[in-house]
Structure formats: structure tokens, C-alpha cells
């Protein structure tokens, strides 16, 4: 396409111009040739059977997909190559394709593909645009193709949402979804982005929603490269929290801090615009908190987003186990009357510095970060192993040893937790570890690494094992609640 356009614009019909065009074309060839390997594209397919994505390849200037790749997760499918002829059988539907031809036979009837059918290494490729007409006949049901964003909806699978702004101060924007969602959340100054790759989220009536609020003036919906993106435009730092089993996402301003009465809402947190991007400033633990802490406990699901943590098995990564453990621990703590914030309650990127800044800003009585491992049998409870000390300056403590004055309280909590796990016959060890952000937390802080009791790593996902561990942690925290509430830094 680009070549046709370029030559069409440049030619004037004179012989010397034609020669010049050919020369220019040959000079441009290397650039065009090398740009062939562009960013890998995927087609996201949403159906009642499964949500998945298939690779999109460029052939003859258009997007193609392997038809077998698209159909395999949806039903019984087989293909057979006979010379230039390619036959595909999906459940009881017979289709026939001929290499380099624009038409296909589906159930004995001709169907226009809008582009050539390609046969490569016995793999049948069809233009992405042909799926809108081809698939309804093969699958026998409605199919909606969003060609520009590479999203394909098989049947009525769209997840709809509404957004409403409350008049609270600071403002709260509440999204209600028709099915549970778990987007990747990222923020930058002035905007919070929720990216839905695995969920069939569809556009609201208007792609731009305006709210007439200074703090959260608008939100917009867009689709790109197999994903839906909801962008909330903000002029204040915001946090996103999940509730209603993932059907509700609340984006709320963080200033001024709410009072303790509103602390019961389980919340997830994303780095707000006000947080430092790098190099946190020294902390001070001598300055009295300006407000009552909102939460007694902060539970941090380690890793997240691009950071998967340990690959526990072919289908299980650490970040998914830690978030499940964090949610279970929140439930156990709240059932014991302990207000709890889950610091990462979505598949979001959070640096260790951002986690420490959030935890320190909340001034909770205890910070618990959760890890999961395939080796090391049972549970390990860690407290900070402080690095070689940097000097403190007056009331300002070194960032790398900010935990120093709280270490005794942290160790006492870790011992209580180890004792509780032992009571429940869970193998447990308590020790120090060079694990950030424990050393940056200005309050009691522990890490809990959960490994399977035997060799079966799938035990990490078993609800009864998760509950065994999290209920022991919650019971231990409840037993030292008074000490934690009154804990003072040791000078």
C-alpha cells in the first residue's frame, strides 16, 4: 500500500521522473524490507468456552490468522491438505479452501473471503476481515469482529459497564461491570489506565464520559491491539479498589484522607501521581501522624503486572498465588475485626519503593507482604535483614534502614505467627531475609513465603491450604493486636 501511494504521488509521466521514481523506490526498499518484522499482533477471541488470543501475521499487506488456531479452543476441529486443497472439519461442518483463491466452500455454499486463502506448511491462513462472514456459518451463531482493534466476540459474551461519580470529597468514580474483571492498572500523572486483555469488555454508549468534577473530570474508552482500555482523567492522586467479587472498581481521590469510619472498604491501590517515581526521600518516624491510620493491617501481594515472580509450574506464576493469598488473608483479618488494605488487588505493576511509600503513608500497625515458592516446604516468616547502615540525619532516617527502630516489634510478630502455624501442624521457620521493601517500612513489617507442604505445587492454589495459612496469620495478628497498636519505635 505504501509503495503504491508513494509512486502515485511522485510520478508526473515524464521518462526522467519515472526513472527517478524507480531509483527512489529502490532506495526505499531496504527500509521497507527491514520494517517487515513489526510489532507482533494478536487477535483476542472471547467466547463462552474460553477467552484466548491467536497470532496475527502480515501477508500481502493484510492481516491473516490461522483458521485452525481460531477454531481449536471452540470445538472439535481437524484439517487435511490435498495438494492446493485444504479441508477443515469443525464439529459436523465441512469446509473447503483452495490455495490463492478468494472463495471458500462452507456447507456446500460459496463464501467470499475478501482476500486470498493462503496455505503455508499445511497451515490454512485466512484474512482477519473474513472471520466476520466465515465464522457465523462455521459456528452457526453470531460473531462480532472489531477489526481495527483485533477483537473477536463469539456469541453474546460482551461485558458491559456503567460509570457514576459520587459527590463525595474527594470524588469517587464507581464502575459497575456485568461480569467480574481483573484489569492491569497503571497510572501516570493526570491519568489512570485500566487495560482489559482477557475480558470481553465492550464500549459504553459514548466512548467519552464527562462528570463535571474538577478532581475526576472525565473517562474514556478505547480499543487497541486486542485489548480494551478505560482511561480515567484526574487532577488529583487516585487509588483504584475492587469489590463485589471484581464486578465493581472504585477510583477514588486520596486526599484529604478519609476518617477511620470509612476504613472498612477493602481496597486495592495503585501508585498515585503524587508518589515519587524514583529515589524516595528519607523517612521520619518521629513526626506524629497527622491523621488516624485508616487501616490496621496492610497486606501486600508481591510481584504483579510484568513481574511474574517465580514460575511455579507451566500454568502457575507467583503473582497469581500471592493475590489469592492476599484476598484470603484480608477476609480472615476482617472477620476478626481488623481493618485491612490489600496493597495490590489487581494485576498491576508496583515497585518496591512504591509499596513502601504507600505502606508508610498509611501508618498501619502491621505490614505483611506475601510470597509463594515451589521449594522450601511449608511457611517461612521473614523480618528485615538490614543492609550495612547509612547514616541518619537528625529526625530523618536512612531509606535503606528505615525499619531499624521497628525491628524488635516485627520479630515479635513473626514469632507469634510462627507459634500459631506450629500449633496448626504447619512446618514453619522464622528468620531474617534481605528482602525489600521490609527494610524501608517505618512500622512492624513481616514477609510470609508460602510453599507447598509436599512436592505438589498445586497445593498453593487449594482453598483449604490457603485458608489454613491465612487464618493462622490472622489469628496471630489478632493475638498481638494490642502490642502492635501501641508499638513505638525503639531508639
Amino acid at each position: 500500500m505504501a509503495i503504491t501511494y508513494a509512486t502515485g504521488k511522485l510520478s508526473t509521466g515524464r521518462p526522467q521522473d519515472s526513472r527517478r521514481d524507480i531509483l527512489l523506490l529502490l532506495v526505499l526498499l531496504p527500509a521497507i524490507f527491514l520494517s517487515g518484522a513489526s510489532v507482533e499482533k494478536h487477535l483476542s477471541v472471547y467466547s463462552l468456552a474460553a477467552n484466548y488470543s491467536v497470532p496475527v501475521v502480515q501477508r500481502e499487506g493484510r492481516d491473516y490468522v490461522g483458521l485452525l488456531d481460531v477454531l481449536e479452543p471452540l470445538g472439535r476441529v481437524s484439517a487435511k491438505t490435498d495438494g492446493a486443497r485444504w479441508r477443515l472439519r469443525y464439529n459436523n461442518v465441512e469446509t473447503g479452501f483452495l490455495a490463492d483463491k478468494n472463495r471458500a466452500q462452507v456447507l456446500g455454499r460459496d463464501t467470499d473471503l475478501g482476500g486470498k486463502f493462503l496455505l503455508e506448511n499445511q497451515r490454512g491462513l485466512v484474512p482477519v476481515s473474513s472471520l466476520a462472514s466465515l465464522l457465523p456459518r462455521i459456528l452457526g451463531g453470531p460473531v462480532t469482529l472489531h477489526e481495527l482493534s483485533d477483537r473477536l466476540f463469539v456469541g453474546s459474551v460482551g461485558t458491559h459497564f456503567t460509570a457514576s461519580l459520587s459527590s463525595d470529597n474527594p470524588p469517587r468514580l464507581v464502575f459497575h461491570f456485568s461480569a467480574p474483571v481483573n484489569p492491569m492498572i497503571a497510572s501516570e500523572p493526570g491519568a489512570l489506565h485500566m487495560t482489559f486483555k482477557r475480558e470481553p469488555v465492550v464500549a459504553p454508549a459514548s466512548p467519552t464520559l464527562t462528570f463535571g468534577s474538577k478532581g475526576i473530570p472525565s473517562a474514556s474508552y478505547s480499543e487497541t491491539n486486542g485489548a480494551a482500555v478505560v482511561t480515567v482523567n484526574t487532577s488529583i492522586p487516585v487509588m483504584a479498589s475492587f469489590s463485589n467479587d471484581g464486578r465493581t472498581i472504585t477510583v477514588a481521590g486520596t486526599a484529604p484522607p478519609p476518617n477511620a469510619a470509612s476504613a472498612g472498604t477493602p481496597a486495592a491501590n495503585t501508585p498515585a501521581a503524587a508518589q515519587p517515581a524514583t529515589g524516595p526521600a528519607p523517612t521520619t518516624s518521629n513526626i506524629a501522624p497527622a491523621t488516624t491510620p485508616r487501616y490496621f493491617a496492610i497486606v501486600d501481594a508481591s510481584h504483579g503486572g510484568d513481574d511474574h515472580g517465580e514460575t511455579l509450574s507451566a500454568s502457575l506464576v507467583e503473582k497469581d498465588v500471592t493475590i489469592a493469598l492476599a484476598r484470603s488473608l484480608r477476609q480472615e483479618l476482617q472477620s476478626r475485626g481488623i481493618t485491612t488494605l490489600v496493597l495490590r488487588d489487581a494485576d498491576a505493576n508496583l515497585s518496591v519503593d512504591q509499596r513502601a511509600v504507600n505502606a508508610n503513608a498509611d501508618r498501619a500497625a502491621i505490614y505483611i507482604v506475601l510470597h509463594a515458592a515451589s521449594s522450601g516446604r511449608g511457611v517461612h516468616v521473614y523480618t528485615a535483614m538490614l543492609p550495612f547502615g547509612a547514616d541518619d540525619h537528625g529526625p530523618f532516617h536512612s531509606w535503606s534502614t528505615a525499619q531499624h527502630n521497628w525491628l524488635a516489634a516485627s520479630q515479635s510478630t513473626a514469632n507469634a505467627l510462627a507459634g500459631e502455624l506450629q500449633k496448626r501442624q504447619v512446618s514453619v521457620k522464622a528468620q531474617a531475609a534481605p528482602l525489600r521493601p521490609l527494610n524501608n517500612i517505618t512500622g512492624p513489617a513481616i514477609a510470609v513465603e508460602v510453599a507447598p507442604q509436599g512436592s505438589d505445587v498445586n497445593q498453593l492454589l487449594a482453598p483449604d491450604y490457603q485458608q489454613l495459612v491465612t487464618s493462622a496469620v490472622a489469628t496471630a495478628i489478632a493475638s498481638v493486636r494490642d502490642q502492635l497498636a501501641g508499638a513505638q519505635p525503639q531508639q
Binding site: P30, M385, P434
Partner: protein, 199 residues
Amino acid sequence: MIPRHLQIAMAVLLVAALGLTIYAWHIRKSAAATPAVRVDTRPLAPPATGPMEKVLLYVAHDEDGTLRAQDAQIPMPSGRQQRAEELARALISLYLDKSSPHAIGSGAEVRSVFLVDPGVAVIDMNGAFADTHRSGVLVEELTIASLIHTVTANIPNIVKAKILIDGKERETLAGHADLSSFYDVAAVDQLASQLQGGQ
């Protein structure tokens, strides 16, 4: 009309450009086919020379999460820095053995150990050491504690230690254990005692 010699020059240049394009395309395809992580298993240092000496290595054991002191006879040079390097190399080669109680990825190697007065040790490991290391708080902590404790228990007067990867600072070993700061040797000694007690 373009002069003939210019036409010839242009044609030669175009042929050269086309040839380079095809060559670049070929190189790109070859690069794409090459595995992303290539472990360099070439030895980084010549074998040490010196009299055989009995030393204590602090060896990590994954099955119970402990460190255990283990005797070893290795050639020890006379220089303090070279001795530290040989200790670290002996420990790493033990972990590279198939029957190791704490396996690490093949190709892991000690590049060098620098001892700087007063009391600073910098252990520079190669990229394969970190890139192929298993991920997890305990498994990473065991590697670091055994490496630092083996060096500092045999070489006196080291108060802080740092681990570099390919001569550069790295955030973590494999996603967990912190490599961004200097380790306090007293704290590592305390941890090693805990790990040897198996508590």
C-alpha cells in the same frame, strides 16, 4: 539527460544497497533464531596455584533450608584477594555439581573478588549466575548467605560485602534477595548461625 557515468555509479550503489539489505535481513533472521539466554561456559580465570589448604565452605541445603559447614581441600594462593576468589570459586563449583544440595544454573562463575580497605569485599559474579538462578526468597537467600559467609568466615576483617553481576549493580538476584545495598557482615553471620541451627 543524466550523464552515463552517473547512471552507472547510481546503479552500482543501488546494487550495493540491495545486497546489504539482503545481508541485513539474513543477519536479522539468524539473530531471531538464536536463543535469548546464551550461557557462556568458558572459564573466566586460570586454575589457581598454591599449596592445598583445608578451608570451611558454608554449603546451602535446599531440602531443609539450612547452611552446613563442610571441609574442603583447595589450592590457596598467598594473596588475600586471590584467596577470597578461590573460596568463592570452590563454593560455586560445588553448586554446579549435579549432585549438589543447592543447584545453581550452569555457566555461573565468579569473575573476581575485590577487597578494599577498610573491610569491604566486592564479589563480582557473571551474568549466568543471576540469569539462571532459581527464584524464591529462601533459595536466593541461601545462595547469598553461603557465598558471603564462606568468604568472610575464612578471610578476617571484612565488615561489609556487595555482590555485583557482570561488574554492575543489580536490584535483586532473581526477583527477591536484595543486591542493591552492601550486606552487613555481622548480620550475615547472624543469619548464617540461624540457618545452621535450622530454626
